[in-house]
Every structure is written in C-alpha cells, then in structure tokens.
C-alpha cells in the first residue's frame, strides 16, 4: 500500500472498486484535471466519475483483459493436452485435465440426457474459466494493482492515483452477465429449435394454470405468461448476479481486511489471521460458484430441450 498512504479508508475502497476504463467522453465534459473537451473523445478514465460518465460506450480494460487472459490460459493448457493426448497411460497435466473433463462429462450426462455437441464443452469452459476468474480473488489484493500503478507511473507517465486495476473479472457484473446472457440466448435458441415457436409460447402461457374450459383458459393465459416470462428472465439474471454477488462480497471482505493493516501491529496481526481464515473459506466459495454456474447452465439447457411431456 506504499502509494496509498495518503488515501482515507473510503478512498482506498473506492479505488479498489473502480475499473480501468477506456471509453468515449462526450463533448463539453469537464475532466478531473479541469480541462473541458471540445469533441467526443476516446480516452482512459482518470476517475470513477469519468468512467461512469462514459456510459455504455466504454470498456473495462482490466476485467475484460484478465478475463481474456485467463480464458486463453485455460484454452492453451487444455489444447496442449488435447494435441498430445494419448490413450495409453496418461501423465502429469493430462491426468489433471482428464479428471476435470470426466467430472464435467459425468455432470452433463446425469443432467442433460439429450444429444448436443455443445453443452459439455461449454460446461467445461465455464467450470475452468469461471474458476480461474474467481481464483484471481485469492491473489493478494494489492499486489497486482500496485504493480499496475508502478507500471502506469514509471512507464506510461500516469498519475498513480488514476491507475485503477480490478483483477477479479467475476466481480464485474459485465463479465458475469455477459456469460449469463449468452447462456440466455442459447436457452432461447434451443427452446425455439426443439419446441418450435408454438411449443415455446405454449410453454410460456399454458401453465402453471390450465383449465379444460376454453374461457377460463383464455383468462389464465396472460397470468401464466407473466409468471413464466418472469421465470424465464430470472434465469440469466440470477445466474449472472449470483456469481457477481458472491465474488463481489468476497472481494469486499478482502478489501476490508486489508484496511486493518493500516491500524497498527495488533490490528495488522488480527487482519492477517482473518485474511488466512477468509482465504481458506474463499477457496470453497470460488470452486462452488464455478461449479454452480456450470450446473445451472446445464440445467437451463436441459430445460430448453425438455419438450414438457411431464407437465
């Protein structure tokens, strides 16, 4: 925390919760250093206020960058194994990769009894990628942001206080909701493909309430539709927000624990103890959240395939 001695606690927390954002500032915007823009400009945000003023036309370079890097790590490791995979006695990395693949395969087989070439690989991608994203939470909270500050200050000549660096992609709702929304698109796609438009609309409007009487049934349809539509929308929202909420809360607790280090020796030792405790507990959470994201995705896919004979 060398460069953050001058920060107050709330500033420290704020700093940790702000993204490194690159985006378009509108014309006439007054920047943090007092300059006023004459034209819309694509630039790095120097404060949280600037970042939020950019609106939709901006990219969180830190979380998206880490997300891509971790995805690439996942892909490179697994691809390397896949290229040299042997059916004989496996060794080292292949053992590990096969354990993961088999775990995913078992889960998919037990929850998704349909023919689809995409669900199992997607589940594998989710499990490992989300786990890696969550795992960034276990890296000492100031280590990489501090490194980024030094890099920004000495190499790019930036004000170190304006270098924001969030390294846990899954604490960014953009990341978690992005994945959840892709799953949602797949739910819609497979629902249409497996059930047809009529079947899908029927599923949305003909239950939970149904009646043999045509008039009563007609009255039920809008009620059913509202219920089922909320149900449908709730799937991606709960999927994405669950992961985001868990990781955000975990990150927040790490930030709060990190604050105790500035409170003297006694507080520091206590904080260190807490950090170890929370870190161990968090290992469980990050694995569990990755697993839950994967399982729910499989279940949603399975529901999209389910033509509903048992309703």
């Amino acid at each position: 925390m060398a460069s953050e001695h001058s920060l107050t606690s709330s500033e420290y927390i704020q700093h940790h919760l702000t993204h490194l954002t690159w985006g378009k500032l509108p014309a006439g915007f007054e920047r943090a250093d007092g300059t006023v823009l004459d034209a819309p400009t694509w630039t790095l945000a120097t404060t949280g206020h600037e970042a939020s003023s950019m609106g939709f036309m901006s990219v969180n370079l830190d979380t998206l960058g880490w997300s891509l890097a971790l995805g690439l790590i996942f892909f490179v490791i697994f691809r390397m194994v896949a290229r040299k995979v042997v059916a004989d006695v496996p060794s080292g990395t292949q053992n590990f990769v096969e354990t993961v693949v088999e775990f995913v395969q078992d889960n998919v087989k037990s929850m998704f009894p349909y023919q689809n070439k995409m669900v199992a690989p997607m589940a594998l991608t989710i499990l490992v990628w989300v786990f890696l994203m969550n795992f960034m939470d276990l890296i000492a909270i100031d280590l990489l942001p501090y490194g980024a500050q030094l890099f920004g200050e000495h190499v790019l000549g930036m004000d170190p206080h304006h270098v924001y660096f969030k390294i846990v992609p899954s604490t960014d709702p953009n990341i978690t909701m992005g994945m959840a929304f892709f799953v949602f698109l797949l739910i819609l796609f497979y629902s249409f493909r497996e059930k047809g438009l009529g079947g899908f609309l029927g599923e949305l409007s003909l239950h939970p309430f149904s009646s043999k009487n045509m008039i009563v049934q007609a009255l039920f349809i809008p009620v059913n539709f509202i219920l089922e539509f909320v149900n449908l929308i709730a799937k991606p929202v709960s999927l994405g927000l669950r992961l985001f909420g868990n990781m955000y809360a975990g990150e927040m607790i790490f930030i709060l624990i990190a604050l105790t280090y500035s409170g003297g020796l006694g507080m520091g030792v206590f904080g260190g103890f807490l950090q170890i405790l929370w870190g161990m507990f968090h290992i469980l959470i990050i694995s569990l959240q990755a697993f839950i994201f994967m399982v729910l995705t499989i279940v949603y896919m399975s529901m999209a395939y389910d033509t509903g004979e048992d309703h």
């Binding site: 036309m57 979380t63 998206l64 892909f75 691809r79 004989d88 088999e102 199992a120 992005g178």
Partner: protein, 156 residues
C-alpha cells in the same frame, strides 16, 4: 454496476472460447478417454478369457493324462496276455514236437526191431535148416519143404 461494452465483449469472448473448446479441446480428450476405457475393458476381458483358457487347458491336460495312463495300462495288459499266449503256444508246439519226435523214434525203433527180428528169423531158419540137414543127413528139399519152412519162420 455500469453496463458497458465489456458486457458485449465478454459475451463474444465466451462464445469464441466455447466454440474453440468444442472444436479443439473436447473431442480429442474424450476420444482418448473412451479409447482407454475400451482398452482397459478389452484387457480385462482378455485376462478373463486367458484364465478360462488356462483352466480349460489344465482340465484337458488332466483328462489326457488319465486317458494315457488308462491306455498304457491297457497296452501292458494286452502285452502280458499276448506273451502268455505266445508262451502257451510255444509250450504246446514244443510238446507236440516232442511227441512227434518220440513217435518217430518209436516207429524207427519198431522198424529196427522188425528188421532185426526178420534177420534173426532168417538166420534162425537157415540155422534150423542147416541143423535139420545135418540131423537128417540129407538135404531137405528146399522146394518141398518150403511151405513148412515158411510156416516155421512165421511161428518164430
């Protein structure tokens, strides 16, 4: 909680990684695993089969041994019987041969005996005639007394 292009970016990245995994990671690994599973299953069944084969071979060997023993015993038995037969045959043959030899010897002896007797008779009859001639002082007419002589000779 500001949504921005990161959302779209992550969605695209997710789609790409899913595609890459589906295309380049999942198939070779699961294929290799399946192959190994099959190999292990084959190996286990081969081991089973080998064990069964071994058992069968052992059983067959035991049966063969038993059969061979029985056959050997039978052959020995047969040989013994045949030997006895041969000995018996030889014995009877020797006996008949001996009997035949004895018979021949006896007949030869008889013949010799007859011949000797004949000669003796002849000599005796000559002596008798000689004696009679001397006693009678005359010559016994051979022709006249031939019948008498022959009777005498037959009586001797």
């Amino acid at each position: 909680m500001d949504f921005n292009l990161t959302f779209i970016g992550q969605m695209i990245a997710f789609a790409i990684f899913v595609f890459l995994t589906m295309r380049y990671v999942w198939p070779p690994i699961t294929q290799a695993m399946e192959e190994r599973q099959k190999k292990i299953a084959d190996g286990l069944s081969a081991a089973d089969r080998a064990e069964r084969d071994l058992q069968l071979a052992q059983e067959k060997a035991a049966a063969d041994l038993k059969e061979a023993k029985a056959k050997a015993a039978q052959i020995i038995d047969q040989a013994n019987r045949r030997a006895n037969l041969i000995v018996d045959e030889a014995k009877t043959q020797a006996r008949t041969e001996g009997e035949r030899l004895i018979e021949r010897a006896q007949s030869e002896i008889e013949q010799e005996m007859n011949r000797a007797r004949e000669e003796l008779r002849k000599a005796v009859s000559a002596l008798v005639i000689d004696g009679a001639e001397k006693v009678l002082g005359s010559e016994v007419k051979q022709d006249a007394h031939n019948d008498l002589l022959a009777k005498l000779a037959a009586e001797l």
